[in-house]
Symmetry: C2
Subunit: 244 residues, 2 copies
DNA sequence: AGGCCATCACTTGTATGATGACTGATGATA
DNA sequence: TATCATCAGTCATCATACAAGTGATGGCCT
């Protein structure tokens, strides 16, 4: 009757990890069944009562597990009818989840993803940007220059410049996706102290590359813009590949 | 005391919409506060008891609301301590959410996002693919040809070819992101009947473009691969821009 | 017979109270 | 001073009850 978790006063060494909550165990189990296709889209999940019996937990736990799957877009729930495996896969979100890579490879692969995205984004921006959007790009560039002048790391300003370019495509999804990548790319404040020293040497180069990208976009030269962006991002990538 | 929803036996015309569940109303409200920055990262949310009082709902509802925010990566909950606005934004997922666009513009913008992603992906694949990965690409191409020979729509096979290329980059994140875009791009079965007629005329062109991409990758010609991919995707984009 | 509708069984949504488990601080103790 | 038991606050889980939506069944009326 009492779920297994409350009986774990046994030795339980080495388990420093915060023991998963029951609802997470169950939602994880169901998630696996769905993702592996053992529960086909459209099929009805067991009712709450059935799960209570099968898993031997309370309704609170079952409901929280199903609720988590619902916000993950894996199931849809209808009062009075039941819970069903979602058929519309566009409701599921995209998550970058590290499949066991070390920190350096992890960040390198993310930067590659970013490069793939931004190279062509620059070309699109060059073709389409409005005057206002160009001003935004110039503003971001100036803000970064200002930060550099104050001897600040300027990571945020750097990234804001890139976002401004993405916005100049006029495509919200493109801009939003780059914004999503931001937190993975921008170093945490904790890391900045030691990095800012090394970085300072590159900032000048960085700004030159930025200017090159900016000019190509301003001239509506799509090919040059994407090439400049590729060069720019490849350099950053190489730095990470070496020292991480 | 009794939450407002249970009193809605009043007229309530025009509200065909399935009334949001209480937990969704509350999680939505909290989500707004967090995203607008009115609840700064790291700050503690009201305790369950406080929310019960403030919102006038039961623990059940409060817990499910907070639980939803947790699986959205917006808050982190610690037993015995409380719930806090998340500081690590990398836990939040990426969602394509239509900001009020009509269906045609919506799909066009998604296809643009895809184009941005895949053009440079093709270049990367050309530079890096292994022999096995090249075989996978060829296999996908053959599978599509087979489907076409049977006069089938071949949407899945088409997309599988693109995914195979993304996998040939050796970068899981790049491949996963394209896979994520799949459900947005691949027409639903319901739409296929009417489309397959028109499409049949283009399939031949499609396969020629595919072959061109494939050859460029096989020859490790990154520039040609990305160019062929751009041409290929731009054509599909134009078709959608016109008729949608 | 055919259409309308009350009813019922089943399911999820919400409320409530009790208990277990974890955290951080407080204060007693050696 | 350092250690540890204790305690209040908080989330986690359990149990129970009732509200509300859904679909089917079957009776009723025309």
């Amino acid at each position: 009757m009492t779920p297994s978790r409350t009986q774990t006063s046994a030795p339980q060494l080495g388990k420093i990890r915060s023991r998963s909550k029951l609802s997470e165990l169950i939602s994880g189990q169901l998630r696996g069944l769905i993702l592996r296709g053992e529960l086909a889209p459209g099929t009805q999940l067991p009712t709450e009562s059935e799960m209570i019996e099968q898993f031997g937990v309370s309704r609170t736990v079952v409901r929280e597990a199903v609720s988590a799957l619902k916000t993950d877009g894996l199931v849809t729930v209808h009062q009075g009818r039941g819970a069903f495996v979602a058929t519309d896969r566009t409701l599921q979100p995209f998550r970058i989840v590290n499949p066991g890579l070390n920190e350096r490879d992890h960040i390198v692969q993310i930067l590659e993803l970013r490069l793939c995205h931004e190279v062509e984004t620059a070309a699109l921006a060059a073709e389409r940007h409005t005057a206002d959007q160009m001003n935004e790009i110039d503003g971001a560039l100036a803000a970064m220059a200002e930060a550099v002048r104050h001897d600040e790391p300027a990571y945020e300003q750097d990234f804001a410049f890139h976002v401004a370019i993405a916005q100049a495509t006029g495509n919200l999804y493109i801009a939003n996706f780059l914004s999503y990548l931001g937190p993975f790319i921008i170093p945490r404040p904790a890391l900045r102290a030691q990095m800012s020293r090394d970085r300072r040497d590159y900032v000048e180069t960085l700004q030159m590359e930025h200017a090159e990208i900016r000019d190509a976009i301003a001239e509506r030269n799509a090919e040059a813009a994407s090439r400049a962006m590729r060069t720019h991002l490849t350099r950053g990538l190489e730095l990470n590949r070496q020292s991480g």
